[in-house]
Subunit: 315 residues, 2 copies
């Protein structure tokens, strides 16, 4: 099969071996996949991942131990858990210490014609969800994860710091759930697009401290220090983005202002699928280009261009 | 009056001007004061504080707009709030942006014959509390602050990282409140003393990851990274110590393991006073020396010696 393979650099391999499903796993033909900030970090060396990246996808099940899944259109939870460790027994399979993670840790990902995932990771998609929207199930689920982690008052003064693809999705979900987030960033064109979608926006250097909750979607350490400066005493800072490098962080403000910092990663797919299917969340305005897999070079160039939100790859 | 004054270095000034109480403030004659890790940080340049340090004290009110206070033995909350800003109106005076902090920010502290504090900061002490124990009201209140911030299950696997004065107090309070903390450190003699007081202890390099809650009392950035490595996925890291320097912190584990980091500082005095008065918490075994103010040099040498817990100054 064709696959984008990350070794020292990313390259297209036309005769990459087809993945063979392990017991309990399904084989999925990938239709469409999204390029995420984490993919760009992986290419820069984050997690020292080697293999096929890609973890946001929609595909069709071509083989499965569960016959009812075969032929179904699915999205897939990306953490493949062992099912036996203490985290798994506690229902925290997404934190299983033995897990592989699609396209991120020890499991080839979605930038290829086929992938494998445990049957229990696959989520059949209702017809109301287009392929284009389905690619966003994973990042939208990650945005919904916030609600599973901390209580959030509807009248909270919330700042989403970062006007990139992650910030756009997080702010869209917050607004869909009747919150009133402000998106702070420094890309004027993107802020205008977000504003046209009904979001409140503000240039970053005009932001004033005092937010009850700041969601850091900047993906860099300077952003995290800025986020810390914008949250009020006893407020919450939600870290949504992983960054490759250790950040020189001045921790004193966390203690002095008694800030709660919440690391937040992947989420359950169910609320995301419901929100997209009902039309409550429509991520398609954030698609800035769809490229055939063979033109991955143009796709990644576009994904790295800070004026774009989301770039898709079609297999 | 006599006062220890921090400029480029700490020195004893015998004719420092007596503090003059502002409207609403009381004048307190200091009897006994404790040397805290924050004082040692201030001497190293933290917060660029200049003036009289010291914020753990017991004293006697000699003048007050509230006549019933005069002659009373008191401890004092260290944050002097403006009472008018949004934090104050929200009942978060300890986070007032305009506050001064006794011996830490813009207010001379307790290493002197006299200090001033707003009348509402003073807490009369029951007779059951000795002067020596009363000096610990402030740090014990800071330990009790944890319970005001996060729900903590009695069966939680709790690690107090750091076997210094702060770790000893935090672990003692947790044990008094029917938790079963383990103190991790690398000072064998201190760990043995803590063990003799009924606390569970463990050498730091023998600690295994998987704690539900880690309370960082190390006071250094290496300790915080170590604490992060010891907390389980979805667990909590409570930061109790402020450190002067920005710490190079690898934030990825916070996001990947969805750890909640809670900054925790000063607390309400009431639970601390109750706990000491009832005998539930007795901090006196941690006193490793009481020095007259005039011998502050020996006192600070002893406080900097990592084999000691708490050193007191008698005025």
């Amino acid at each position: 099969m064709r696959a984008l393979v990350l070794n020292d650099r990313l390259s297209l391999v036309s005769n990459y071996p087809d993945p063979r499903p392990a017991p309990g796993e399904s084989l999925v033909r990938v239709k469409l996949a999204g390029i995420c900030g984490t993919d760009l970090e992986l290419i820069r060396g984050y997690m020292t991942y080697r293999g096929v990246p890609g973890h946001e996808f929609v595909g069709e099940v071509v083989a499965s131990p569960n016959q009812t899944l075969v032929g179904q259109r699915v999205a897939g939870e990306i953490n493949a858990a062992c099912g036996r460790c203490s985290a798994c027994v506690d229902g925290l399979g997404r934190h299983c210490a033995n897990r592989s993670v699609l396209g991120i840790v020890a499991r080839d990902g979605a930038f290829a014609d086929y992938l494998t995932l445990p049957e229990c990771n696959l989520r059949p998609l209702p017809e109301a969800i287009t392929d284009e929207a389905a690619v966003f199930v994973e990042p939208i689920a990650a945005a919904y994860e916030i609600f599973d982690q901390i209580p959030l008052r509807r009248d909270a003064k919330i700042l989403v710091l970062g006007d990139g693809r992650l910030g756009a999705i997080v702010a869209t979900v917050l607004k869909a759930e009747a919150y009133k987030p402000i998106v702070g960033g420094h890309h004027l064109a993107k802020l205008k697009r977000l504003q046209a979608l009904g979001l409140k926006v503000e240039l970053e250097d005009k932001l004033q401290s005092g937010f009850d909750v700041v969601v850091d979607c900047t993906g860099n350490s300077a952003g995290i220090n800025r986020a810390l400066a914008l949250v009020r005493p006893r407020g919450s800072l939600i870290l949504k983005s992983t960054a490759a490098a250790a950040a020189p962080l001045n921790l004193a403000p966390i203690v002095i202002n008694e800030v709660t910092v919440v690391g937040s990663r992947c989420g359950r797919f169910e609320p995301a699928i419901e929100a997209i299917a009902s039309g409550k969340v429509d991520p398609r305005p954030f698609i800035d280009g769809t490229y055939p897999l063979d033109d991955f070079d143009s796709a990644f160039k576009a994904a790295m261009d800070p004026s774009n939100f989301k770039i898709l790859l079609r297999m």
